[in-house]
Symmetry: C2
Subunit: 231 residues, 2 copies
């Protein structure tokens, strides 16, 4: 894993060591996971000594946690802000599609964002499967707050939606978004010709349409449950 050149954007030697380490660690953690990247690789990518990781952060795990802390607030605020922006828009109640599109954009924004290089969201997918963060931090800092906000917004737009159905719907939407990212990561790793590569924007447009119809079906269920397969 010969990573000697700095793989971060503008971190040659002007920034302080701690930031260089954080940037390098983030890139390597995203690309190869927690166990897949060594402290030596991080130090080499940051252009500093191995001991710096322990000197500044007190260990590999602490550094990993700090990499996350940098993004928790930004990501949570971005997601919730995208919900609030839609919900507080003037001109009557927003459509379900508007809410979903706004949230989906905010969700995959770290993937498209050129500043972070779209690496961080891969780390999220990893962390969901292979936990290395302290217990419940992920839930408390990200999932619960964002899920709560989205749930309230959904219920407001779709009055027929029960609380449990709203949560199930969120599970569906987030599941599609995460899986899209996983599939993207997977396909870019394996150069398989037959497998069609989707444009991300196209997939999001699909998810919005698909989910809006799904949510409406779940909301209808409550009011009139007779006409289930009318088509």
């Amino acid at each position: 894993m010969d990573v000697l050149s700095d793989n971060t954007i503008g971190s040659s030697s002007d920034k302080p060591v701690q930031e260089r380490l954080l940037d390098a660690a983030e890139g390597l953690f995203c690309e190869h996971g927690f166990e897949g990247t060594s402290v030596r690789d991080i130090a080499a990518a940051a252009g500093c000594n191995i001991a710096s990781v322990n000197y500044y952060f007190g260990g590999k795990e602490k550094l990993y946690l700090e990499v996350w802390r940098r993004h928790f607030n930004l990501m949570r605020q971005a997601r919730i802000a995208s919900i609030d922006r839609v919900m507080s828009k003037e001109g009557g109640e927003p459509s379900l599609e508007e809410l979903l599109a706004s949230y989906a954009d905010a969700f995959v924004e770290p993937l498209v964002d050129k500043h972070t290089g779209g690496r961080f969201i891969k780390l999220m997918a990893r962390e969901m499967v292979d936990r290395h963060l302290p217990q419940n931090i992920f839930l408390e800092e990200m999932i619960i707050p964002v899920m709560t906000a989205l749930q309230q917004a959904l219920i407001k737009i779709c009055p027929g939606l029960s609380e449990v159905n709203a949560r199930l719907a969120i599970l569906s939407v987030v599941g599609q978004l995460v899986h899209t990212i996983c599939a993207e990561t997977m396909l870019e790793q394996s150069n398989y010709p037959e497998m069609p590569k989707f444009e991300l924007a196209e997939v999001i447009r699909h998810i919005v349409k698909f989910s809006a119809a799904g949510i409406r079906a779940c909301a209808e269920q409550k009011e009139d449950r007779v006409q289930k397969t009318e088509g």
Copy 2:
């Protein structure tokens, strides 16, 4: 990681060593991932010597691959059979809900199945993020064949569905299923009281209803694209 007692179902010492190793390796790989489990742990769990892994399988990676090979055929056949069973049922064309329910059941069956203990599907989620299998084996042995079968079935049931829309729909359905399993795994790891635990059957019922509506919306798109937000 003190795993000394056998964590597999019925593998104390009656079964041959290779099977004991495969069983033990499967359990540990599922629980802790490829890098997270050592050959020593596997040998200890299987109740045999460390060298047995190299003697019988020629290395850790070969053993890992063999763990997968045991399941590839079974899982692929189960998925495709569940599709075929629905599609070849007498009494006219099956409903979209029937197809989705059948496929979803086959998909999560390894999770519910008491024989495997539902561990293997976790390994699938891991492997999608952290590749350790030889390039493209996962795609060729699982994803492509099953996706092709499901795509054809979907198009047959929903004539309005284009090929690309069918693939996008499958991405949505599989995404929901995988995410459900990830969430299940995640929540069982973290004993968080506020987070509601869903019954798996309940979630699947939701996914079927949700996805059926979503797919119909994507199929309608082709024929009449005027009435998008009629509700």
